[in-house]
Symmetry: C2
Subunit: 424 residues, 2 copies
């Protein structure tokens, strides 16, 4: 008996809410419909997975292990913490993120289940059904997922690949209306790997100040920047623009599964008085993140050796260079050199790949023929790019690049330019 007949017979089919219906993960929606059948003779290399722990080449810092183990042993962190987190843990975050121009305190910190939980609290505290928030394009897909599940409209402002993915501020400004409740700025960026300069951040802040739109700063990658780059937190550069900064242990400490994130409330002239109260109330719905990790937080943030950060970054930057050097030689590919985070975007000159309808189509075939999986940038609402992750073991990076080069050489079709010469 088929499901439908059974249900009809019993006459009982429980409907789902609009919220569930409207919750989409664009990555899943795209990836799950791709035919990902690797070439049988070539081991799969997944350059798609944003989880830096999957290859085992980037271990968490030793002291993270020690700190959590001690928290378990003490047996005094099994009870409920305040829903915004233990005072000591919040103070530790405050100390960690404070700068001379943006001092914060335990009372300005709300702990949450990962940066995802932090973003969810911020979005649901600021906007209602029918309101809109501005998000980057290309951008991390969760912003859209979280907002749309609550009936909040997302408006995507353009990032400019030719300017290292800076924000097209004119475009951003043109999207703002009286229902705009916040703009999310992701710096350093997933998927772009961009790190904004002080000047660009100041431009963004000026725009927001003029338009009176508060900022949700997704700074989960924070100090994850390559040599020669400096990371400035959004809050450190403005005395007037209220900033809810979202961060967490996930990326810098390589422990995404621990689900430890936070919001730092950078209030300016009491503009966020109600928001602060709102975040506190919303935090009571789920009662905060795991207490063992909360208890470990002060030690993790204070005692992780500089060498750990440096070595992790060197590894990733080296991979970025390997990718860049290889792929910029490949006809039809235009890698954009990243400045931080864990990702690189690679442009596809689609007119030279007439066999393929789209980045999704091309990356699917790259799996079939070369067993290399890059995430099509359609997942980030952006066409004709794909994203590679930089946390893959370096030997695999070289191997992947060679296979990508072979793939492109095979499918690349030169086009005669105006002067009868190939135009690339």
């Amino acid at each position: 008996m088929s499901s439908e007949i059974k249900r009809a017979k019993k006459g009982w089919s429980v409907p789902v809410s609009k919220m569930a219906t409207n919750t989409f993960n664009p990555i899943r929606n795209i990836v799950d419909t791709m035919k990902l059948t690797p070439h049988p003779d070539k081991p799969m290399i997944a350059l798609s997975i944003g989880d830096p722990t999957v290859f085992g080449n980037l271990p968490m810092p030793e002291n993270c292990e020690v700190a959590v183990t001690e928290a378990v042993k003490k047996r005094s962190f099994n009870g409920y913490a305040p829903s915004i987190g233990y005072e000591d843990s919040r103070q530790a975050v405050a100390d960690y993120v404070s700068t001379p121009t943006s001092r914060v305190d335990s009372k300005d910190v709300v702990l949450a289940s990962g940066a995802s939980g932090a973003l969810d609290l911020c979005i649901s505290c600021l906007a209602d059904e029918g309101d809109n928030i501005l998000i980057p394009r290309p951008g991390f897909s969760l912003y859209k997922t979280l907002a749309e599940s609550l009936g909040i409209e997302v408006r995507q402002y353009d990032l400019l690949p030719e300017k290292s993915w800076e924000i097209d501020l004119d475009h951003l400004e043109s999207l703002i209306d009286s229902n705009t409740r916040a703009v999310i700025v992701c710096n350093p960026s997933n998927p772009c790997g961009s790190v904004y300069s002080r000047e660009h951040l100041l431009e963004i802040l000026q725009t927001m100040e003029r338009k009176r739109v508060p900022i949700i700063a997704d700074e989960i990658y924070e100090h994850f920047v390559f040599s020669g780059q400096t990371y400035y937190s959004m809050a450190s550069l403005s005395e007037n623009v209220p900033v809810l900064a979202c961060g967490g242990l996930t990326k810098r400490y390589l422990v995404p599964g621990w689900r430890m994130g936070w919001i730092v409330i950078n209030d300016r002239n009491d503009a966020l008085v109600e928001v602060r109260g709102g975040l506190l109330k919303l935090s009571q719905r789920l009662l905060g993140p795991n207490t063992l990790v909360q208890a470990a937080l002060p030690s993790i943030l204070a005692n992780t050796p500089e060498s750990f950060y440096r070595e992790t970054l060197e590894y990733i930057e080296n991979n970025a260079n390997v990718f860049y050097q290889h792929l910029s030689q490949v006809p039809g590919l235009k890698p954009v050199m990243p400045q931080g985070a864990m990702y690189m975007m690679v442009g596809l000159d689609m007119k030279h790949f007439p066999e393929f309808k789209s980045d999704v189509d091309l990356t699917e075939r790259l799996v079939t023929e070369q067993s290399v999986f890059c995430l099509p940038a359609a997942c980030f609402q952006y066409p004709n790019y794909f994203r590679v992750v930089l946390t893959v073991p370096t030997e695999k990076v070289s191997e992947a690049c060679e296979r990508m080069a072979a793939f492109c050489r095979e499918h690349y079709k030169p086009i005669n330019g105006i002067n009868g010469k190939p135009d690339l």
Copy 2:
């Protein structure tokens, strides 16, 4: 310069969402407005706190510590788990909750951040703004908090203290209309300490089957029942009524801070096909609970010794008896003997306490005069009762009872009955 002047000057005050505005924790709303000034000569005894770990007298099972420590050491559980949880952890929950009449599988389990997270997923998956769900009165206040923050109406069905807090099914049925999306049944119950008989559960299920309303079973206290009582899971007693059962480690394993909860999807004739999909999608908003605890779950559920469960229950049941024996002798108090969970409700014969306007008023004064804090049942939308927790160290229970007796003796006013005799 006052806050308001500063804000006006800068002209920037960020409004909060309806969701944040509509999120209320009734317990906080009541408790925070009480004047809780203990008597200076008497150390405070808090019988109000639903966290079984605060007194240190009820430690978690040894093997919980071992299981989590091992998960940390293995270093292979730091990455992202699937958003509904690791397959093995879900299978462990399925094995733990399955009964001969309600077999479930890993695919029927969704892990979440505590039972709170599980309830939030269930409610937001089943109901929309404008719909209603039915919840018990007196009942755990989070149901109301979660639903109302999403604009979902709650309708409270009565529990009957004189029938050990069974559900008034006629009243419940009278509340159901075409917008009713679910009924939450809490068994064993916070705050009542009731454990429903097989017969009563079957009656509830019959009603729901007739009315075609699915059940959210809050079974976080599950096997936490006193001698002579048997716990039946809702799902084990019906072949036709779809049941989303919420549980977790919080209470039975005495680790509320770990935030490990679950939903067990007990589908019947594919009535929950869409709900299953909806829960999966909603779980992707926050990416599941802490992976270290997830990894420890199979060992915790399989290897916790029977003696741990037995000793914990004996301790609590003994406290229940001490409370009951003492308080049933006290003029004006009517304790209702609990059958499980960690709480006892105590009725207040308010006509004998004319000094006090309400249970809130009386319990506030009990703090002032005797430094004993019982949670007024107004926190559970129920008048003229208070709730005591049974997890307090036994010596404090006796001491608290004596002070409560002294308080009542002092404030109790006999009333002449019809025959000129006191009516109690």
